[in-house]
């Protein structure tokens, strides 16, 4: 039976699909020199999807639609808006990329993976969830290996595919066992079904471990992070940016929803996650210290950030979930800004080692400032989003009495300050060989200028007027309890 809510629930997805089809139809008719406009079309289209969804498809009370396949709630909606925003920024970043910018299919793949993420955020059924995860992953494998004549990129794509396929299989195995134990695939029926079969507890614990492997890969938590540095370094930088933000946030979205809905009765997974969080933060930060390549540094830093966000998951409270959602919002804006700045630099110079950033603030003062904002926000300094996000995550930990975890997080953020500041030292302090930076400017093309300015503004906005954003995060969190 049809209700209007059903359409509203998937309005972003419908619009994304429409946009993708339009792109597919229109793009072949454009002359080769105009193909870059596909980027503008994607960007404009994504903004329109964002605006229309915000205007018309805001959820009221949570309700399940399509026979329990999807849940139409604030939680999913807020994540969808984040994914759309990240995709819009990424489409701008792709436009002036040598290999991605003039190929309609790259934008189409971006839209497809965004579509998958949107479905991930609202899935309320194991089958739907698995389909959504695959819809997200497959385009990302292709995009990572998009530069066919580049060894690193093909390697990245292949490595990502192998790791991804393996963990998907593990995840699917977990799902099937879960169905076997509970007799239902509906996330919200799982809890009671599992509690009814109490004797299964050790088996369910095994299932939880399998699921953690699957999601640990998605959010690149230690010890499932090995793919991240190689893939991040090899993949085209705009895709790396998207991979490290939206894809990771999608993993968290599912992790939170599934675990809070299905396993609140099993008290031991938060303690496993606490260990994972500790390892993720510590190993991510320690391995980031010796990096000499900026993309690898950001890869390890993004591993560490998954660890900080996990603190909020471990707290397993309303504030904890809200803090994770807010953390991810701040992290998406910040990390996209960081990768955007790296992209602008690498596009002009073809270099991406940290030492190559010497003299950047003299070559391009605005780009230097963008780097400054991004790296200070990653380091957790006010007035940028990273500060508030970190404080609230630690708040959530302390509220639940998890002092040890909060202290681990804080010690880690001190380590992180060191390597973030180290990059800024190259940007601001060191000089190019020959000290004639003025002769080597780094021009910003229009898409980059728009994207970087918006993201930098967003990072400051999240760090100063954080009230509304956190209220939305909190609304989202309330939907899960």
């Amino acid at each position: 039976m049809y209700t209007p809510t059903m359409l509203l629930a998937i309005l972003p997805e419908i619009l994304l699909l429409t946009l993708g089809v339009t792109l597919l139809v229109v793009e072949p008719f454009w002359k080769a020199e105009n193909r870059r406009n596909a980027g503008w079309l994607t960007f404009g289209g994504l903004l329109a999807v964002l605006a229309l969804s915000l205007l018309f498809a805001r959820p009221a009370d949570p309700q399940t639609v399509f026979g329990g396949m999807l849940r139409f709630d604030w939680y999913g909606f807020f994540f969808k808006m984040m994914f759309l925003f990240a995709a819009a920024a990424t489409s701008l970043f792709m436009m002036d990329h040598e290999k991605l910018g003039r190929r309609g299919e790259s934008y189409l793949l971006l839209l497809a993976t965004t579509l998958g993420m949107c479905l991930m955020a609202s899935s309320a059924d194991l089958v739907m969830l698995y389909l959504a995860i695959e819809t997200t992953s497959i385009p990302l494998y292709v995009l990572s290996g998009f530069m066919l004549d580049d060894k690193a990129s093909t390697e990245a794509g292949f490595k990502y595919l192998l790791f991804g396929a393996l963990t998907s299989a593990v995840l699917l195995y977990g799902f099937s066992l879960l169905f076997g134990f509970a007799g239902t695939t509906n996330l919200y029926a799982l809890k009671d079904a599992l509690l009814a079969g109490r004797g299964m507890a050790p088996m369910v614990f095994g299932v939880i471990l399998l699921l953690l492997v699957g999601f640990g890969f998605k959010i690149s938590a230690v010890p499932f992070h090995f793919w991240a540095p190689d893939v991040y370094q090899g993949a085209p930088t705009p895709i790396t940016g998207f991979l490290s933000t939206a894809s990771k946030a999608a993993g968290f979205a599912v992790l939170l929803r599934l675990f809070l809905a299905a396993f609140p009765g099993y008290a031991n997974w938060p303690s496993i996650l606490a260990v994972v969080a500790t390892l993720t933060m510590t190993i991510g930060n320690l391995l980031a210290l010796p990096q000499t390549n900026i993309k690898r540094l950001l890869a390890y830093s993004s591993v560490a950030h998954a660890g900080y966000a996990l603190i909020g998951v471990v707290a397993f409270s309303k504030l904890g979930v809200a803090s994770v959602v807010f953390y991810l919002a701040a992290y998406i804006a910040t990390n996209l800004l960081a990768f955007g700045a790296v992209m602008v630099f690498s596009r002009v110079t073809g270099l991406d080692d940290i030492k190559d950033f010497s003299g950047l603030s003299r070559r391009a003062p605005a780009l230097g400032l963008a780097m400054l904002a991004a790296f200070l926000s990653l380091a957790g300094m006010p007035p940028f989003g990273g500060f508030v996000a970190k404080v609230i995550v630690f708040q959530a930990a302390v509220e639940e009495g998890l002092y040890a975890l909060a202290i681990v997080g804080i010690l880690n953020s001190i380590v992180a300050v060191y390597y973030y500041l180290n990059v800024l030292k190259y940007v601001y302090l060191y000089r190019m060989d020959g000290e004639n930076e003025e002769a080597h400017p780094i021009p910003l093309t229009r898409p980059y200028a728009i994207a970087l300015a918006t993201l930098a503004f967003g990072v400051v906005l999240l760090g100063t007027l954080f009230g509304p954003w956190f209220e939305w995060s909190n609304l989202a969190a309330l939907n899960l309890f």
């Binding site: 504030l319 404080v391 804080i410 001190i414 300050v417 500041l421």
Partner: protein, 513 residues
């Protein structure tokens, strides 16, 4: 609501920083002018606030409910049991420090202006736009901490005040040690602040669960009445987390290195204002929110402070680099502030409040003069300098006045501040006062020696004729700072009563006395 003067003071440098960044990089003089205008504006407002508080230092607690003035309060975030407010106000303790920040900001801009002579550049000539933007970000953070009445807001501004230091020192600092010193300073301060942050979060939840009112508002947390065991546990991380920035022994190690590596205006800010930030926050959050913990641990603070006072003075005595000498003298003088705080009595606390202001002005002057000398002579080694009184008499007079303050001579602000501190300590542990007073002798020795060597004596042949006169702006800065120290020394009533009013508020929290 009245004119939100405190917010305007806090946001003036922040807005100016953004405006400065929008000016094209090659318009150096426009950048400097904007900076000067903004700093004069902030200074004027902080003088006004100071005068208002000085005229009515005592707030009727029964009528107003709180001992602060110029209160502004807005809800920043209120979700679930998470409440953060934008809440600012000043009392007799913080108003002098707001004024101090205004003065150091103003004189720092004057000193950094310099002469754009390619052969002998003085002041800041490399990327002044970024320099002033970061400096003003720092200044905004400092103003913010001094007026914050909300713990979250305090941390927010505290971190804003810390991280620009890294850039300012690393980019414009002394080539030899800047990278090392900047990173060391940032890590020390960041570690201190996050350790204190855990304490603040613990206070938030403990107070919330006990009273049902979840708030970072310090006026509320004052009333929370934390259990004794809680206070004893958390006082140490909170107090010493902040006191790191106050340069307390044994966590002072970052400070002299930072002073030496920093460019002149940043050294002025760093020693003049930033170290007060640490002492002030340690007082406001540590002692005022956890008074019982303060009573338990005051002996430890006093011990560390006494060591800092004597040890700092002695290390200063053996330095040959002028900046290291002043850096360690700052450790010694900030040790006196901590010494005063550790007494927890009226005289000691009043002295600490006055010493924060007096030392801020004095050390800003010292660093300004040292910067002028270094810009011209390209050395700060005391044995390699001499006869500076002839080419730069204004600087010499300024340094001598600063030296008299430093030695605690009557009729200068140093006396007004240090005398009550020693009186306060005497009431608690007379022996500590006697031991610490050794530092006065050592201070006199190194200051006099420095004055004789650097300003009088024979000018080395290689410097003869190379010392250009200082600019009118430099003179203005020196005169401003000197006049303040003399005014406070001659008429302590300009500041004494208001600081005492602030102290009364602290004593009220400490229970009677």
């Amino acid at each position: 609501m009245n004119f939100p003067v405190l917010s305007v003071i806090v946001f003036t440098p922040l807005v100016a920083a953004v405006l400065i960044l929008l000016i094209p990089a090659n318009r150096k003089n426009e950048v400097r002018t904007t900076a000067l205008v903004a700093s004069v504006f902030a200074l004027a407002l902080s003088i006004w606030v100071y005068v208002q508080v000085a005229m009515h230092p005592v707030v009727d607690l029964a009528a107003a409910g709180y001992p602060y003035q110029f209160i502004e309060k807005l809800t920043w975030l209120s979700v679930g049991n998470l409440h953060i407010e934008y809440h600012v106000g000043v009392d007799g303790m913080s108003a002098p420090l707001v004024l101090l920040t205004g003065i150091v900001m103003f004189t720092g801009v004057l000193i950094s202006w310099g002469v754009d002579d390619p052969h002998a550049p003085t002041g800041i000539q490399d990327r002044p736009r970024e320099f002033f933007a970061f400096l003003f970000l720092l200044a905004g953070g400092v103003f913010g901490v001094f007026v914050s009445l909300d713990l979250f807001l305090l941390f927010f501004f505290y971190e804003i005040a810390v991280f620009p230091m890294y850039l300012l020192i690393a980019i414009w600092g002394w080539v030899k040690t800047r990278e090392y010193a900047a990173m060391k300073l940032t890590l020390y301060l960041f570690i201190g602040s996050v350790v204190a942050l855990v304490g603040a979060l613990a206070m938030y939840w403990t107070a919330g669960q006990a009273t049902g009112v979840y708030t970072f508002d310090m006026l509320q947390l004052e009333k929370a009445g934390f259990p004794l065991a809680f206070q004893n546990t958390w006082f140490l991380p909170v107090f010493f987390g902040f006191a790191v920035l106050g340069g307390i022994w044994p966590f002072h190690n970052w400070s002299p290195d930072g002073h030496v590596a920093a460019p002149t205006a940043v050294s002025m800010f760093h020693a003049g204002v930033l170290m007060k930030l640490g002492a002030f926050a340690a007082l406001r959050v540590g002692i005022m929110l956890l008074p019982e913990g303060a009573k338990t641990w005051s002996w430890l603070i006093m011990l560390f402070a006494a060591i800092a006072v004597v040890y700092g003075a002695y290390i200063a005595f053996v330095q040959t680099d002028m900046k290291y000498m002043i850096g360690f003298s700052s450790v010694s003088h900030m040790g006196l502030v901590m010494f005063g705080l550790s007494t927890l009595n009226r005289d000691g606390l009043t002295g600490a409040g006055l010493q924060m202001f007096s030392h801020g002005v004095m050390t800003a002057l010292f660093f300004a003069v040292t910067g002028m000398i270094y810009d011209r002579a390209h050395t700060r080694q005391i044995p390699e300098l001499g006869g500076m009184v002839k080419p730069m008499p204004w600087a010499a007079v300024g340094f001598i006045i600063g030296g008299l303050v430093s030695m605690g001579m009557p009729f200068f602000s140093g006396f007004v501040a240090e005398f009550p501190i020693f009186m306060g300590v005497w009431q608690v542990v007379p022996l500590a006062a006697i031991i610490a007073s050794i530092s006065i002798v050592i201070t006199a020795a190194y200051i006099m020696r420095n004055i004789r060597r650097v300003f009088f004596g024979e000018m080395p042949a290689n410097l003869e004729g190379h010392i250009s006169p200082i600019t009118a702006l430099d003179k203005l800065a020196i005169v401003t700072l000197c006049l303040l120290m003399i005014a406070l020394g001659v008429a302590p009533n300009l500041m004494g009563p208001m600081v005492q009013a602030g102290v009364d508020n602290i004593l009220r929290l400490l229970g009677g006395a």
